[in-house]
Symmetry: C3
Amino acid sequence: MANRFFLLLLSAGLPLSVAGSLLHWPATLMFGIYCLTIIALASYMGRSTESLAIVAGPRIGGLLNATFGNAVELIISIFALKAGLVEVVLASLTGSVLGNLLLVAGFSFFVGGVRYKRQEFNANDARHNSGLLIFAVVVAFVIPEVFSITMSESDTFKLSLGVSALLILLYLAALFFRLVTHRGVYADPSEEEETVHEKPEWSRTTAVLVLALATAAVSYVSENLVHTFESVAQRFGWSELFIGIIIVAIVGNAAEHASAIIFAYKNKMNIAVEIAIGSTLQVAMFVAPVLVFISLLFPDRMPLVFSLPELIAMVTAVFLTVTVTNDGDTNWFEGLTLIAAYLIMGIGFYLL
Amino acid sequence: MANRFFLLLLSAGLPLSVAGSLLHWPATLMFGIYCLTIIALASYMGRSTESLAIVAGPRIGGLLNATFGNAVELIISIFALKAGLVEVVLASLTGSVLGNLLLVAGFSFFVGGVRYKRQEFNANDARHNSGLLIFAVVVAFVIPEVFSITMSESDTFKLSLGVSALLILLYLAALFFRLVTHRGVYADPSEEEETVHEKPEWSRTTAVLVLALATAAVSYVSENLVHTFESVAQRFGWSELFIGIIIVAIVGNAAEHASAIIFAYKNKMNIAVEIAIGSTLQVAMFVAPVLVFISLLFPDRMPLVFSLPELIAMVTAVFLTVTVTNDGDTNWFEGLTLIAAYLIMGIGFYLL
Amino acid sequence: MANRFFLLLLSAGLPLSVAGSLLHWPATLMFGIYCLTIIALASYMGRSTESLAIVAGPRIGGLLNATFGNAVELIISIFALKAGLVEVVLASLTGSVLGNLLLVAGFSFFVGGVRYKRQEFNANDARHNSGLLIFAVVVAFVIPEVFSITMSESDTFKLSLGVSALLILLYLAALFFRLVTHRGVYADPSEEEETVHEKPEWSRTTAVLVLALATAAVSYVSENLVHTFESVAQRFGWSELFIGIIIVAIVGNAAEHASAIIFAYKNKMNIAVEIAIGSTLQVAMFVAPVLVFISLLFPDRMPLVFSLPELIAMVTAVFLTVTVTNDGDTNWFEGLTLIAAYLIMGIGFYLL
C-alpha cells in the first residue's frame, strides 16, 4: 500500500518537477513539489538497496545499506556545496542527526510504547552505538570547533580533513567489526537471524537499474531544490539554517522515519533502533566527513565546524539518547522525552 | 520529637517575625528569624501534604506531593520576582538543584553508607531519573543559554516560554507514567508497597486547614525575608548570588534534607533517593518553568537563562550524579564524592 | 629481557646525560638522551616500588604505588615549575590524562582484543573509576575554568587551592575506601587474590636504595631536560604545548604504557585497566593538585586552570572512556575508538 502511494507520488511529482523547472513556476510551489518527489524517489532507492542487500548476503548487504542508506542526503548536500551553501549543508547534517536521534527514535519508542508496556532491544548493541555516538559527536565534532577558535582558516581545514579521515576509517572498522570479526558475538540467544528466509522484492538487474535511475532523478531534482532555498526563506521569513535543519533533514530521511516507526509498532525494536541510531552514525561518521573531502572540488570548502547552537544541540541530543537507550529498555515516556527535546531545539532554531 | 522542636520553633519564630517586621529590627537579625520560621512552617506544610496524600490515595497523593513539595521555594521565589530580584531567583533555583543533587543525596549516601557497606535502590528508577535529569538540565537549560547568545531579549523570552511549557508538560507526563500507566511495572519484586497500612497524622479537614494557614504564613514571612537580602549581602560581604544559591536553597529545602538522611540511615534508600532526585526534578521541571510564566505578571520577566557558572555547576552536578547513581548501588565514598563536588561549587560561588 | 634492555639503556644514558650537559652538546641531541635515560630510570623506580609494595603488604603497598606511581612526572613538573614553565606543566598533565585514558587503555583493549574476542574486567571497579573521572575532570577541572572567567587572578588561585585540597582529600578517601573499608567487597567471586604468592624482586634495603638513587638521578636529568624545551620547540617548529602534551607525557608514562599492554595481551584486563585509569586518576587527583600547592614555593604560581582546548580534550576523553568502559567488557574495536580519539586530539594540538 505504501509502495502504491509512492508510485503515485512519483508519477505526479517527477513530470511536475521537470515541467515546473522548465516553465519557471514560483519557487515556493516548486520547493514543495521537489520535496515530495524526493521523498518518493528515496523510497525507491531504499527498496532497491534492500533487494540488493538480500541478494548479496549479509556482509556485502550491510556494506550496501551503510553506503546508500543516506544517499539522498549526500546528493542534496553535494549540490548545495556546489551552490556554495556551506552553512545549509552543515545545518542539514545537524538536522539529520537531531531528526534521527530524537524524532525517529522518539516516535518509534512512543508509538511502540503505547502498544507495549516495555520494549526491549539488544543492550550490547545499544552500548556499542553509545560509544560511537560519543566518539563521533562529542569528540570528533567538538574538538575542531574548540581548537579552531584560535586557528587560522587553513589549519582549521587541515584539522577537519584529519578528523574526517579518522571518522571514515573508524566507520569502516565498525562495519568490519559488526559484519566480520564479531558477527553474532553480542547477539541475544533469543534473537533469530530473521533475514534468512527473506525474499528480495526485485532481481539483481532490476534493483541495479532502479537504483541507478532513482539516483539520477534525485540528483536532477536536488540540484533544482537547492536553488529554491533562498526564495522560500524570504517568503516564509525562515532562515536558510532553519530550512536546512528542519526541512531538508525531514525530506532526506522521510522514508527511514516511516519504516522505523512501523518496526517499533511491530515490536521489532532492534531494527527500529538500528535505523534511528545507525542512520545517525552514518551521517556523522560517513556522510559528513565525505562531504568535507568532496568540498575540496568546489571553491567553497567545508570545514567540520558547526555553528555553536548546532554543535550544542547535537551534543546534548547525544547525551540524552545515550542515557535513555543505554539499558536496552524503552517505553512511551522515553519516546516522549526525546520528542520534547526535539521540539525545544526546533523552537530554538526557528527563533535563531 | 522533631515535631515538638518545630512547634517550639514556630511558637517563637512567628511572633518574633511579626514583631520585628513592625518594629523595624535590624535586617540581619530578622533574616535569621525569618529563615528559622520558614523552616518550621515548611515542616507543617510537609506534614499536612503527607496526611492529605495518604487520605487521597497514591495517585492524587503523588500529584499533591509533586505540586506542594517545593511550595515554600515557589512562594519565596514569587516574592523575590515581585521585588525584581530575577538573578536571586535563578540563583536559588540553581542552589536548590545543587543542594538536592549533591548535598542531600551526598549526605544520605554517606550517613547510610557509614552504617551499611552497600545500599541498594531500584536501578530502573535511577535510570528513569537519569533520563529526566539530562533532559531538564542538559537539554532544556543549556539550549536557551546557548541560543540566546545571538538572540534578541524578546526572542530569548519566547524561547524560554516554549521550553518552560514543554518542561511542565513532560513533568505531568512523567507523573502520569509513574502513577497511572506504569505503576509498579518497574518495581523490584522484593519491594512491598509500604504505604498500604499508613495512617494519616491529621484528618482531611485539619490537614487542609494547616496547609492553608502555613501557606499564608510562609507567604507573609517570605515577602519580608526577600527585602532583607540587600542588607545581609552588604553586612557579610556576600553577593546576592551567594545568598540565593547557598542560603535560600538550604532554608527552602531544610525539611527534605533532614528526612532524606533519616531514611538513608534506616536503609530505605528508595525513599531517600526519591526525595533528593525527585525534588531536583520538581524544581527543574515544575518550579522553574512555572516561575517563568509567573514572571509575566511582573515588570521584570525571568528568562530561563542562568549565568554561565550556574549552568555549568548544574550540568556537571547532573553528570556526576547520573554516573554515581546509575547502578542503583551506593556507599559512603560515593556520598563523599557528591559532598566534595558541592564544596568545590560552594567555594566557587563564594569567591565569585 | 626488558630489564636487561633498561639496564643497557641506563648504562649508556646516564653517563651521556652527564657528559653532554657538562660539555654543552646540542639541545636537540640532549633532549633525546634525557628522554631515554628517564624512561630507563622510571623502570627502576617502578620495580623498586613494586618490591617495596610486596614486602609491605597490600595496604601500605597500595599507598606506595599510589604515591610513587607517577613520581617521574611529578619530578619533571617540579623542575618545569621552577623554570617558570607553568603552561608546559599544565600541558604535560593534560597529556598524561589523555595518554593514559586513550592511548594506554586504547592499545591495551586493541592488542588484547585482537587475541581474545571479548575481554572482561570488574564492572564495579569500572563504575567506581567512572565516578572519580567525572568528579576529577568534569567537576574539579571545569569549575575553576568557568568561574575564573570573571574572577581576579588571586581569587582564581584561591579557588584552585580549595579545589586542589578537596581533590587530594578525596583521593586519600578513595584509597581508604579501596584498601580498608571496602577491600574485596566489590570483587568478582572468580577473581583470586593473585598477589598472595608474589615474591619481591629486591629486598627492602636494596629497593629503598634503588628508589632513592633513581629518584635522585631522575631529578638531575629532569632539571636538564626542562631547559632543552625551548630549543627543541624552535628546531622542530613545535609549540611548547605540543612538547608538554605529547612528548613529556609519553616519556613520563612509557613504563606504564608497556606493562598495561602486556597485561592486556595476557588477558589480565583488571590490571591493565587499573594501570590506565588508575594512573589517570592519580595524575588528576594527586599529581596536579600537589603541583598547585608546590607552585606556592616558586615565583610563578600555577592555578588549576587549563587552556580551553586542553580542558575540552580531557572532558571529551573522559566521556568517551566512561561510555566505553562502563560495562566491563572490551574488544579490539573499542580500543581502536580510543586510539582514534587520541589521534584527533594529537592533530589538533599539533596544529594549535
